[in-house]
Symmetry: C2
Subunit: 299 residues, 2 copies
């Protein structure tokens, strides 16, 4: 099945389940919500829920397992959004198989021994609890519609993501975490429009957390040309930055704009060095839901 035919959330999940699609989900099922997945031993579930509630900008909680071990149903954590709005009653869900590629951590260390296209061997039916976290794909569509397509989309790359020194509000076992941010370069005079367009997407990070060249230092970033995840940044027109553009030769007309990023909770889980088996989607390989992005917009 060609990935161009995957136009609904259900179709992407079915293709991932059949392993006919094992690549990234960017561009698939346009308009459908794509979500980050975290799966934890049940003893950490309450602390993780609290971590999300205390840090809703980088960790917007969309849904969680209906009960420990359950992989075929999620309950909505979003006010006024029903669980059946996320996964339609006529469709089905298998969190262990419906994502193209997964990561597995054991006692805080990543298991690099295999490429995980399902979680059948590691999921514990008596214990594992899944959480879905919002993803910035939702507001990127809104930016494109407004003629403010991010440079990485114009240039056909992944968004650059950075580890910052801004602390998360700790919650139980989850201490020592910091914000991960995604970055898009914009013309200075477009920043207020960019803020206003993304603000209503509260469940997919909402408006930026920082902007302007001074925020590079404030966030504790060493070099915007060296993101920890994703690809190097591009100018708003999709062109490459020169070696000096992120440093001494900075543009004053174009500035970096930073948003909370869904990698944050995965990082927080890794830093907490949890005992037992933790699972997540592989970056860029998301769970696609049955709900359209516009539904999560808060007016």
């Amino acid at each position: 099945m060609g990935s161009t035919l995957l136009i609904t959330g259900q179709e992407v999940r079915q293709a991932a389940r059949a392993n006919t699609h094992t690549g990234p989900t960017a561009g698939l099922a346009p308009g459908y919500i794509q979500a980050n997945l975290i799966v934890l031993p049940s003893k950490y579930a309450a602390d993780f829920r609290s971590l999300c509630q205390r840090n809703p900008v980088p960790c917007p909680l969309l849904a969680e397992s209906t009960k420990p071990g359950s992989w075929d149903a999620m309950k909505s954590c979003i006010p006024n959004i029903t669980s059946t709005a996320l996964i339609h009653p006529g469709n089905d869900l298998d969190l262990r198989r419906d994502i193209p590629r997964y990561l597995v951590y054991r006692d805080g260390e990543i298991d690099g021994s295999a490429r995980h296209t399902d979680l059948l061997a590691t999921w514990r039916d008596d214990d594992h609890v899944a959480f879905l976290i919002g993803c910035s794909f939702s507001f990127e569509a809104a930016l494109c519609d407004a003629g403010l397509a991010p440079g990485h989309i114009v240039g056909g790359r992944n968004v650059p993501m950075y580890r910052t020194t801004i602390p998360l509000n700790p919650a139980g076992v989850f201490t020592g975490g910091t914000y991960v941010v995604s970055m898009r370069l914009y013309k200075k005079h477009d920043v207020e429009r960019v803020r206003a367009i993304t603000a209503p997407y509260a469940f997919t990070h909402g408006e930026p957390v920082a902007w302007g060249w001074e925020s590079v230092e404030e966030l504790g970033l060493a070099d915007i040309m060296k993101p920890e995840w994703g690809d190097r940044p591009l100018w708003p027109d999709g062109k490459e930055l020169g070696p000096q553009d992120g440093g001494a030769g900075r543009s004053t007309d174009v500035v970096p704009v930073f948003w909370g990023c869904g990698v944050t909770p995965q990082e927080a889980v890794v830093r907490a060095r949890l005992q037992g088996t933790v699972m997540a989607h592989a970056p860029g390989h998301m769970l696609v839901l049955d709900c359209l992005d516009e539904v999560l917009k808060v007016e």
Copy 2:
């Protein structure tokens, strides 16, 4: 009327309204929720609501005006808590008079020309929107009950509060804000119990945001002996710190523990330099509700 007779929220509000009590509310109506007040021109209300939603730890939103200009009714913003649980139907409320002392800001500058014991001259019935924010008095009672009374309570002082360099997630006009934190010193081996006891009070700041001497630098504090608000810190037994105790001569058995503080939203409002008239309670002079602290505990 002696303040020792003010044993319910309604009694404190009535005494403030009659100006028979114009002092701080600490220790009055024990067990009743005391709240921070912010009153804004309606055009800033949506951005302020968003600021609270994006920063629930320092800015936990309890309630807001039922409509612009309304001063006699509030609607609850807390899931599963009704508006009538906050102010009982048999009691009444006048936000313009029921707090012992207020602060008034005009175009971002504090009006120090008068002592404001009511807001009758400044409140606009067609425009002002009030917000109530949680206060850490609620979890202090729980700490005392567990034999972990904070040093400032043992020593009969106000809690020390500090301006940090940790950025708030910006929201609309509210940019450039930072966390304000309150601080209590605890024995190192008590910190995990202190975290666990305060964690359920999610609507009154919840568990600490940082602890340990290394957090003094991480929060960007110059000197814990010089708080921006409140009184100098005291040891857990209520004794004075020496001149070196917060610096080179630091104890290793006792460490500072920091919580989000309800002064944060007032600071954010001041920093935003809003045009028009903004009003708030005077620090320590809170609005006392009809609801008991325990009701806001999240299990």
